[in-house]
């Protein structure tokens, strides 16, 4: 169970940006860019939450805060009752993170890549081997385990990355646009992976621009627009608030409603 409440994150503006960009963007104030202003959502066991929002809405920033890579300016993130903002080390153990831009160590083999992260997470000896083997079998990675990552196809890299992200049995899995730029086959790896996690009762939070994936996988959605979560709830409630049975239309309607309030 992950509960996110009132997250805020601002970035200092680069000097050259300070004067050039007009303050037409309401998120740019007092020399800061308020990337995330108020984001709250929750995702329980066996639940898959889709994080939606236009480009620049603040999805990546939000997910990076979940992953403890960025420290929120305000707000809380609780995983199984533990506030990981106060205790990032707990958060790192509890979260499995994967983004579309995540890379591998090219000169290490697929196996070595996964084992390295297992070791960094404190796994050793038999426990390490059995956990890795379990993942390699589940993701059917046998064919390319001992090939260097730089020689792997995108699909193989993807699988290696997935194994790497969950090797420490995280309580929550966070994915940032995991399917962007992938072909149908490799996309399928991800979709199956998310389904597996759901079957294991692991909460999954993932951001995406593909609403068909949302329809396919998600129990609930959170829509972020200009740094603020505008909607958070079940798919059904989303369609209701968006006044449309089509996810696309509902998305547009909610974003437009949001702009009316501003």
């Amino acid at each position: 169970m992950i509960v996110v409440n009132g997250l805020k994150k601002r970035f200092k503006l680069a000097k050259e940006l300070l004067n050039t960009t007009s303050s037409s963007d309401s998120r740019q104030r007092e020399g800061f860019f308020h990337s995330v202003e108020n984001v709250s959502f929750s995702c329980g066991r066996g639940e898959v939450l889709g994080l939606l929002g236009p480009n620049g809405a603040g999805k990546t920033t939000t997910l990076r805060m979940l992953s403890t890579a960025l420290k929120p300016d305000a707000g809380s993130i609780e995983i199984s009752g533990q506030n990981i903002v106060k205790n990032p080390l707990k958060g790192r153990k509890a979260i499995g993170f994967l983004s579309g831009t995540t890379g591998l160590y090219g000169r290490l083999t697929a196996r070595e890549n996964v084992e390295y992260f297992a070791k960094l997470h404190g796994l050793k000896g038999r426990a390490l081997k059995s956990r890795c083997d379990e993942l390699f079998t589940r993701l059917s990675m046998g064919d390319f385990l001992d090939k260097r990552a730089e020689h792997l196809s995108t699909g193989m890299k993807q699988k290696t990355n997935i194994a790497r992200a969950v090797v420490h049995r995280p309580d929550v899995v966070v994915l940032d646009e995991p399917t962007t730029g992938l072909d149908i086959m490799t996309k399928q790896n991800i979709i199956e992976f998310i389904r597996d996690l759901k079957a294991d009762n692991t909460p999954v939070v993932f951001s995406t621009h593909h609403l068909d994936e949302v329809a396919l996988l998600c129990d609930s959605v959170c829509l972020i627009d200009r740094g603020t979560s505008r909607f958070c709830g079940s798919i059904e409630a989303f369609k209701e608030v968006g006044q449309s049975g089509e996810l696309n239309d509902a998305f547009m309607n909610i974003v437009n409603q949001g702009s009316l309030h501003v």
Binding site: F11, K12, R64, S67, T68, A69, L70, K71, L89, R92, K93, I95, F97, L98, S99, T101, T102, G103, L104, Y105, G106, R107, L108, E112, Y116, F117, K119, L120, H121, G122, R148, R164, A165
Partner: protein
Amino acid sequence: MFEVFLKEVKELLRDRKTLFFVIALPIVIFPILFALLGFLASKTTFEAEQKVHIYYLANASLSPDFEQMLFYHKSFRPYKGNEKFETIEALKSAVKAGKIDVGIEIPATYDSQVAGKHQQISWHVVFNDAQSINFVYKRLEKLINKFSAQIRSTRLEALGAPQKEHPAILKPITITKVDTADKRENYGEKLGALIPYMLIPLVLMGASYPAIDLGAGEKERGTLETLLLTPVTRTQLVLGKFLTILASSISCALVTVSSMAIWVAIAGGIGVLDTIIDAFSSVTFTDFLLIFALLLPVAVMLSSLVLAISIYARTFKEAQNYMGPLSMLVFVPIVVSVMPNMSLNTTTAWIPITNVSLAIKEIIKGTVDHSAVGLIFVASALLAGALLMFCIRWFSKESVLFR
């Protein structure tokens, strides 16, 4: 931390490009350098020795004896053209135009019966001294001195001194030189100044190639973010990476110094390049060890520096852009060390790189002060510590990690 170190080393060993620069280059650079130096030196010397100089003797008629001497010298040949160069100015422009190699002007006041006169007279020798290995002046000077000696002899005899007393009159006291500064100290000054120029940049190279990969490369490939999400602390990460870079840098230094030692031995065996062998002749195995030990503080300092740069850089390319000027900048403290009157003492021991480069020079000269060497280690450790703190701080700073 150890996991990070082991993995980085493993990855490094699989990188051919880095291996080439860290291991292969230092091995081949010395034989190439020695061979090139020896070849060039012997070639230019040989050419200079073989050269026959075309001369013009102004007012030749005033000294037929000298004209004869010059004419029959194997390295001189008279100018065959029709032009006359009877003044110094004319000789100068003839040398400049390349018509002659050397011009000699016997002043018009010169009297061939000089033997009876009691005055000095000045001849002018016009030539171009721009070439570094140039025998024309030396040869001519020798010839004129010989001629001069003949005249001196005649004069002394005219004054009533018999031939056999001439040496005692001309040089009543002769000196036999007993020099305690051996060859080592003389050559050591020159060679010892040269060695840091080769060694320290190689140590830097051994550090900077892997560093680019370990810092900026990690950002560029998108592995940094996941690395930061492991329970490993930033300090452990930085230390693991630092140790890897240090190991690479030290291997580079080790390979370099052993390669230098081995090639000096080989060159000694086949008897080429006597100058270099002479200079190294009394450098003992212990000295080689000491040189290597001194490269450690340089390696520690440079490793932490390049890691800091690499972590700060956003991309591979940006890191390379910073490393470029650095490989030039590293020469500055080395140049400082070869400036006159610079020696290793308790003050200079605090200047990074300059200190080590001074120490290496003095080891080869055989005049090193061991307590100052101790101070070098302290100074370098402090500096490296400070730089590593920077690395750790930057590795925790969002604005550097997600620029």
